[in-house]
Symmetry: C2
Subunit: 572 residues, 2 copies
């Protein structure tokens, strides 16, 4: 028989992800605690990441989204669940929270020994003219989803999505699935802000291929009613009529309650917690999309609303509430999204964050297949790896492709967590059968290539250094085959196929620094190894023409080459 | 300009996997070296892991199996490739290898500065009566494959496979694909020896479901000709007629040459190398399926013929040959196989190896879905995790299921490489979107459950402790729902659904130790948490009825329950 923890009265505000996990964990730790779970909406523990797919119909049965029903959860864990109940005030000194029953309007006070805030984050509704139009909707919970779906069910031939983040893209796919015309406006010059811009290019091309009109670097300046529809005016001057507008321009921590109680907040309004998930008040803990957490890669504090970390934070907060010791290690921002046939994923630091924080880094791009090329269904992915220039510690990774992207981002996420180096990636022993990988897995290949860069065996240059203004400073040698060169090439590149290089290297002009490129970087590496051993310095274009096209989608000739390339390109 | 390595004459014996990789790497390190690649067969660098799939037709075009052609490889890396050439003698003192041109029979000597042996391993042909029958074939190279395929193409209504390892199972699948009847005989009481027996059960059930007759614990004692067909006699006394027999009873290092040169071999006949891949002769290196390497988990030496390690060893050997310093970290045995619709994978130490070496360990089983249950296509896998009892370091993992098995085995393989603990798995930040995972990924869940076992929060018992002889020592409580209990139950188990436990726990007899079980272990964990807080000691059956059925496929009642369960079972 084990010793009983001190009975407590635990009140949890917010019954989705973190809140529901916390309540279940609390009951497992204490059979005698009073556990009150307060939720503003009608349901607890629903699958918020599934909402767009019920709109689109891929999750046909709405009940699938109710991971646990209110009754099931209450019975299994003996919880006092109060849905449609809002926490309206918090007296931290007296340890009482004021609740309002939304059905009756009745307000009452609830005492607690410990309070866990899991309020989540609310979609931002920018204060634009006309924003209150009833067809301008956001997506956070089941009711929001029902509203959007009702509009689409009733017939919405033209829809407008504002924001190109995860929710915006998932809604774009699902609205297209419903047959509506979709325009997506994004303020930034790229979709998917967690990715670096060049890695978002294949996603943008996939959106275009699937009939989504993507307007980058533009913004809505106002809305107006037009016979019940919405007319949106853009900063660029264009106007768009839409039967439905989905606002997905980000979320903001839902921390009014925390603020009213005097809890410490960050300048951006997130709740400050320590690594035990404790707020500035020792009886109040907070988890999920409302808190700021540490970034274990860069060491700073970040606001990263993701379901996985929210669940782990909840477990850690409850452990600490019940006298155990547990610490949250921070959030490295591992995320993934499927956009039509393309999968994009990221973990750790992006290049733009490394630049913004002034950290030294190196990077490589590779374009491997997800499994053995000789087995049917092989399909390339573009993998970007960021690492420290001294010891090669992995800092971040981004991958865009199809099948197998999720596997490699998870392996690389764990590599970052374990503080592994690119040499460790090269030596990783991963599972190989022709259906699942290669004897040299993409993770190994990334490690090999990065280690070659660190050792100086492979001197690389990056596509962005070959923009129109600087391209002429280099002699560019294309070592692909004539057919490949004819189909798409960097303007001014000299063709010498790899197989002819040993005979023809004397042809290469030596008046400028030499850049060698191929389709994805491998043949050019071989070429550079040869040239450098012959005394000819040269640099390999990392990721080859495939990544060059991601950086400069219109930078190749002939003009036909400017047509969007396949989302992913064959490894060369 | 970089400094040139000393020119060498490098001779490589064996042109598949390791040998071809080594030749390419050598050329990248030295443009001036003479590189001779000697291969007994007609082709170098073919996809040996793809051979069964050309027999079955999934890889329809034979040319896909030629990863690099002889000409392509020779041109790209300026190699002196000699196919259909056998190394017949080795004078290590004089640094000369004697080669025989198999077409002409001409023999000649080839000097070397460094010799790399990559001879591979040859299929074992046990000295059974009648073994020389022309319809008894093995599968190692393209010619072997062609012979097998020719027999099947000509019509082979009945086939016999001897051996239930990777090649045996892949051939079983591919011969069934061709419509032949397949019987598979395996000496051990299980297929797939790298797995523990209970984890092989779903694979055996999948073979049966797909019409493969599997005879475990039996062996062929002899063959006889019967009108051109083969009649095999088994130890059990049965006889079987077959139009084709595929022998897949293991491989043996192909080290006659090494032996003749006096290189140090292991008692099992593998070449002894250090972690630089150097043999007992400083001018001779060896890699691949012919060498014994270190096991980084258990610290002993192992013979693990796998393509991934062979490729990495080749790179390391060549680096050392050319004056760089590189060390091989050993092989932890990460492997995977698809058998019809089931995927089985393993990494690190198995339970049987831990037992055989007397190492202390703990284990847990979980039965998670590969992605969010609310998204279409969710499918369970059985995951077994082995870890140290003191600090929870991950020692090994085995997974059987469908989609997503490959991802989790790779993440766990890297966890072993990085010497992570089960707590690290619990805290791993992996990518979650409903198509790819769950907010609590199977890897996290394995970490949570294992950490609960280590902390004592979850006291587990294993199915093997509930065999017929010992089952009566326990009061077994089934906390599933009545319908689940009616469909399949452990004989003698008392039904108290989890939702009724708080009211009915007084009914549980207290005269014997209590075991609680559910479908997969989660509800039983909740039940045990409750009971133990009420002063009732109890143990949770790890992996629940799903794993119990893997250990005792005929151990449930009613008899209908003895029908093979689905390959993977719903998580409970």
């Amino acid at each position: 028989m084990e010793c009983q923890p001190v009975p407590v009265r635990l009140v949890i505000i917010g019954g989705v992800a973190g809140g529901a996990t916390a309540a279940a964990r609390a009951r497992r730790l204490s059979e005698d605690a009073d556990i009150v779970l307060v939720e503003r909406g009608a349901e607890v523990s629903f699958a918020n990441c599934g909402l767009p797919y019920h709109v689109g119909g891929e999750i046909a049965d709405r009940r699938r989204l109710l991971v646990q029903t209110r009754t099931g959860l209450a019975e299994r864990f003996r919880l006092d669940i109060r849905t449609r109940t809002e926490a309206v005030a918090l007296d931290a000194a007296a340890r009482r929270v004021r609740l309002r029953d939304l059905a009756t309007g009745r307000e009452y006070e609830e005492p607690y020994d410990a309070l866990l805030l899991s309020p989540g984050a609310a979609p931002v509704r920018p204060p634009l003219p006309g924003i209150e139009h009833p067809r301008i909707l956001t997506l956070r919970n089941l009711s929001d989803m029902d509203r959007i779906k009702a509009v689409v069910d009733a017939g919405a031939p033209q829809t407008l999505i504002v924001g190109g983040g995860f929710i915006g893209l998932e809604m774009a796919e699902n609205l297209r699935r419903r047959g509506t015309a979709v325009t997506l406006v994004e303020l930034l010059p790229q979709v998917l802000p967690p990715l670096d811009a060049e890695m978002a290019t294949p996603v943008q091309e996939e959106l275009a291929r699937n009939g989504v009109q993507v307007l980058l670097g533009d913004a809505v300046t106002g809305f107006a009613d037009e016979d019940g529809r919405v007319r949106a005016t853009l900063r660029s001057g264009a106007t768009l009529a839409a039967d439905l507008v989905v606002l997905a321009v980000g979320v903001r921590p839902d921390t009014g309650l925390a603020q009213s109680a005097g809890l410490r907040l960050t300048p951006r309004g997130a709740i400050v917690v320590d690594d035990r998930m404790q707020t500035s008040n020792p009886h109040i803990y907070a988890v999920g999309d409302a808190v700021e957490v540490g970034d274990p890669v860069l060491g700073d504090r970040v606001f990263v609303p993701l379901a996985g970390p929210a669940n782990r934070q909840a477990r850690i907060a409850v452990d600490n509430i019940f006298g155990r010791s547990a610490r949250f290690r921070g959030t490295q921002g591992t995320s993934i999204v499927r956009v039509f046939g393309v999968v994009a994923a990221a973990t750790g630091a992006s290049e733009k964050r490394l630049k913004a924080t002034g950290r030294p880094y190196r990077k490589v791009y590779i374009v491997p297949n997800q499994h053995a090329a000789y087995f049917p269904g092989a399909q390339p992915m573009i993998l970007k790896l960021l690492f420290t220039p001294d010891d090669g510690r992995v800092l971040g990774a981004q991958i865009v492709g199809g099948e197998g992207v999720d596997k490699r981002i998870d392996v690389l996420a764990l590599a970052i967590q374990a503080r592994l180096t690119v040499t460790d990636l090269a030596e990783a022993e991963l599972a190989y059968a022709p259906q699942f990988g290669s004897a040299k897995d993409p993770v190994n290949m990334a490690g090999f290539v990065a280690a070659n860069v660190l050792s100086g065996d492979d001197e690389v240059i990056y596509a962005e250094e070959l923009d129109e203004a600087r391209r002429d400073r280099y002699t560019i040698v294309d070592v692909r085959e004539p057919g490949e060169h004819a189909a798409a090439r960097i303007p001014g590149a000299h063709l010498i196929p790899l197989g002819e290089l040993r005979d023809r290297w004397g042809e290469i002009p030596r008046d400028k620094p030499i850049v060698v490129h191929c389709a994805a970087g491998q043949r050019a590496y071989y070429a550079c190894r040869f040239l450098r051993q012959r005394g000819v310095p040269c640099r390999n274009l990392s990721g080859g023409l495939r990544v060059y096209r991601c950086v400069f989608p219109r930078g190749v000739e002939p003009a036909a080459g400017a047509v969007p390339a396949p989302a992913t390109g064959r490894c060369g």
